[in-house]
Assembly symmetry: C2
Homo-oligomer: 267 residues x 2
């Protein structure tokens, strides 16, 4: 019996590969990792095209109760669906290691990943340094570590891909205390939010890592025909409307002549 870890791509219900769909149809349980990303379609639409009911796996299930996903694979074929490519995120490497420990056979079915798909903006993929996540500020606690990563990548001439926070199933502070299982509406960080975040840190740190004049690339819905890409200064992008999620932001490092040419397309 096998645990199939299946990438379902970046856009919608039609991004699944024929091979992935074939496996989904023969698995006894199908989990969908449903807290690190989102598609441009509903879960119901996935179920319709896949022809199967999906079990939504939130962070608690994947990180704390992984055996709920792994153990059934000792008895029958199980699918664990991941938006993008399963190898794009370390969480899933962790799931693979645990499954190996439990002596459960694993097969991975790859798909498109944001890490490769961002190549569409015309920046060389191998010149991307460490990828960062920019998260919504919580209470008075402001994370600044991502600012340091952008600075270090810049020093090495490397581009930085900033993935932006999403809150799929989080309780309000009040409901968290009460532990009543009531969750807020999903929230998605915009390119504009991300730029404000970086400018706020800049105004405190003043290391000239990310100013209003920093040229960057705002992206929305990469992998979809409805994608939007704009290259411009932080100040310019702050005014732009990127529309529906997911958004991401690229802070370029040193630009090669060809890369500059490519970015011109999006200006």
């Amino acid at each position: 019996m096998t645990l199939y870890i299946i990438g379902i791509g970046l856009d919608n219900e039609k991004d699944i590969s024929l091979k992935g769909l074939e496996k989904i149809k023969k698995c006894s349980k199908i989990f969908l990792e449903y807290y690190t990303s989102r598609l441009n379609c509903t879960v119901e639409r996935l179920e319709e095209i896949y022809g199967r009911k999906l079990i939504l796996a939130d962070r608690d299930m994947v990180e704390k109760d992984a055996e709920k996903i792994i153990n059934p694979a000792k008895e029958s074929d199980i699918a664990f669906l991941v938006i993008g490519d399963p190898m794009g995120a370390t969480t899933h490497t962790d799931l693979m290691l645990r499954a190996k420990e439990a002596d459960v056979k694993i097969e991975v079915i790859h798909n498109a990943s944001i890490l490769t798909a961002v190549g569409i903006v015309g920046l060389e993929l191998y010149k991307f340094g460490k990828t960062i996540s920019i998260v919504f500020p919580q209470d008075d606690w402001k994370v600044q570590a991502h600012y340091d990563v952008i600075r270090d990548n810049q020093k090495a001439g490397l581009h930085t891909l900033c993935l932006l926070d999403i809150k799929m199933k989080e309780p309000s502070k009040e409901n968290l205390k009460k532990d009543v299982g009531i969750f807020e509406e999903p929230r998605f960080m915009t390119v504009n939010d991300a730029i404000k975040n970086l400018l706020a840190i800049e105004s405190e740190r003043k290391e000239k890592v990310f100013t209003e004049d920093t040229v960057c690339v705002g992206c929305a819905r990469i992998g979809s025909f409805e994608k939007k890409i704009i290259a411009g200064t932080a100040k310019e992008l702050l005014e732009a409307d990127f529309g529906a999620p997911l958004h991401c932001l690229i802070v370029p490092g040193k630009l090669h002549f060809m890369e500059e040419q490519a970015l011109d397309i999006w200006k």
Copy 2:
């Protein structure tokens, strides 16, 4: 009308996405980029599943006669199929730029790429430096630039993904002179060939970039259920049989504790 640049994945005829297949079926001409990579199935098998005849596009057509692909897209929808993800290779960025110049609308349908799929070995993707190609030596002319890239990546603590040469449609030296259009059998560089190549350069340069004791990761058929991954010293991998193509070789940089743990799986 649109030029659809469609990734068809890494393994076989079943790696196409539902969206990609839908577009292929409605295009008037379908080109397959057929010189930088290969799948684990025949072109006939692709044609059977896609339900369409494919026009094989070799290097000359894509690099010198790109208008043969771009111009028809002014009249009707055209598909250009690329093994892996179209954004994985700069050739296709070039095709995109030319199409934009010719005022032809382009849409990209992404798919799995070797650049992300290699994450399956357990090395962090953002710690990969510049990707290199190791090519078959020609006459007495030995390329050594890739050795320098491995060295520079190592200095920066970065991993190097080495893609290995493939010759899909090359004339022999004799037939090239005669220009008779007769081509050799396809050839694919093995992990063993690549290691021999690097050791040969090492014995000349003696910079201790790649010795018999260098720990590396040999990979074959990544993206397929029949993949083979072995981690070990260059000397050990030199003896290993990786089977059918495509092969690639990873020369790790500085290993994080978690990465060491992951590599242990493949020893």
